[in-house]
Every structure is written in structure tokens, then in C-alpha cells.
Amino acid sequence: MSDPVSALNGAAFSGIATVEEAGLAGMITLRGDLGSKGLGAAVKAATGVDIPTANKVALSDEGGAAWMSPDELLLMVPYTEVEGKLAALTEALAGEHALAVNVSDARAVFRLSGDGARETLAKVCPVDLSAEAFVAGQFRRTRMAQVAAAFWLDEGGVFTIVCFRSVADYVFNLLSNAAHPHSKVGVY
């Protein structure tokens, strides 16, 4: 096994906000009955968090879980532990109708931070990103210009953005362009 490499090897840009590729993150797509006790327990075991409610993300030190749809979660775990966690999950969910797959390498992850972060995102996503409307812990799947993307906001005011690996370049250029140093809108 050689060292795994992320799509952009940690590229970064700084303007009205700072855009950084976050590198490889362990991610598992889990589909199943989000109401089932077994699944809840398995998720807790894998990530240390309870199943988040709709459009929310639950974060812990060792990972977290994001609500993707009524029957889908995106679990976040340390990259090196994905296979182990996946095996455990599959084991735990053997009894019920569920599907867990490793999607760590199918994704690119970006961190967007700084005063202009909300405005940068509001230039490319049809989402109300005002401080009143979009708060820490919120998770949103949406359209980022011309590709699908998802993001959440953490307590530190940093947005974590997840998109497909193949469009990592596009998303990075898009965000860097939106974060142009002289393009502050001045409303958020």
C-alpha cells in the first residue's frame, strides 16, 4: 500500500475568506432505518455521536455524522480506521436492511474560514447564509454553482464543504474566485 493522496494535496487560497483542501477524511455512506435502535447504537459506536436530526450534523472528537436524507447518513471517522469501522458497522447491522460503503476516496473536503466565508458561499449556493438563518451544527446539501455539494458550519465559524473528488479542482477554483480579495459584499 503506498501513501493515499487526496485530490488536490492540500491546496489553499486566501482572499475575503480562506479556502483549504482539508485532505483525506474517513467517510462512510450509511443507508438504513434511522429510527432503528441497532443502527443508532452502531453509529454511536462508530462515530461517538447520536444520529443527528434532519439537516444537522453531530460532531465528536473522533468523528461525526451528517443527516443526508431520511434514510441516509454520512459518517465521518479517522481515515485510517474506515475499514475497521465499516466492518464493525456491517457486522452490527447484519440483522437489518442497511447498506454501508466506504466513500472516503470518492470525496474531496474543503475548509472555508474567515470573515468572508458566509459571503463566499452565498455567491455560489442558493442558500440563506445570514447568521440568523444558518447556524453552527446545520448541514445542507445543495447546488454549488454547477455541482452538487454539502456543507456544515462548526462552532468555530468554519464551514466544511464536501464534494465529489472528480470536481475538486472546479470547486477549489470556484471558491477561490468567489473569495476574490476585492469582492467583499459587506452584508454578512
Binding site: 434532519a54 439537516n55 443526508m68 431520511p70 442558493p126 446539501r141 445543495t142
Partner: protein
């Protein structure tokens, strides 16, 4: 630029996050059906000036298909509801009746 509330995730999604899927509540006809039945199932679409029950997918979002009751002449949305139903639920029918008395759909009034 329409906005529709996805009944699965509650997001008020704008049109660019959605994919329109045409008339809702079509009954599938497979092998064993008559040519006429199969033809109507594939091609005959309600195209009313007024109340229309239709399918949408929250494609740039939770990915779920849902149904909407919408007016094709004012674009008013009477409501959105689950795709796992064979006909508009009572709540939706009431909402439509409140705004468009005398509307009808198939054998529903």
C-alpha cells in the same frame, strides 16, 4: 424560479436544486396490458390549465422524489407530499379545494 418545500428534509428548495418529473400518480402498465393502456401510461399526460399533480426530485439535496400540487396558470403551490402514495392525500385535496373550488382530478373532486 420556483421554490418548493421538500417534504422529506423540509428544505425550501429553489428550482435549480430540483428536477421536474412530470405528471404524478401514473399507474404502471407492464406485460399483459393492452396497447391502449400501455400507450396512455407512457405518453398520455394531463396537461391542464390549473391544478396539476406532479413529481419533483430534490436532486441537489436529499435526493428524494416527492409530489407537488401546483397551478399551471399562476404557479401557485397548494402543497407538497410524499411520493409513496397512489393519489393526493386528503390534506392536499382540501388545500386545493380551498383555493380552487370545483377542481377535479380523475374521479376525485
Amino acid at each position: 424560479m420556483l421554490i418548493l418545500e421538500c417534504p422529506y428534509c423540509g428544505v425550501k428548495a429553489e428550482e435549480s436544486e430540483l428536477h421536474a418529473g412530470g405528471e404524478a400518480h401514473l399507474k404502471r402498465f407492464g406485460p399483459g396490458s393492452s396497447d391502449a393502456e400501455f400507450h396512455d401510461y407512457l405518453f398520455m399526460r394531463k396537461n391542464p390549465r390549473g391544478v396539476h399533480f406532479e413529481r419533483w426530485r430534490h436532486i441537489n439535496g436529499c435526493g428524494k422524489w416527492f409530489h407537488a400540487a401546483r397551478c399551471t396558470t399562476t404557479l401557485e403551490v397548494f402543497g407538497t407530499y410524499s411520493a409513496q402514495t397512489l393519489e393526493p392525500p386528503q390534506a392536499i385535496r382540501d388545500a386545493v379545494s380551498a383555493k380552487r373550488p370545483g377542481w377535479s382530478w380523475r374521479d376525485l373532486k
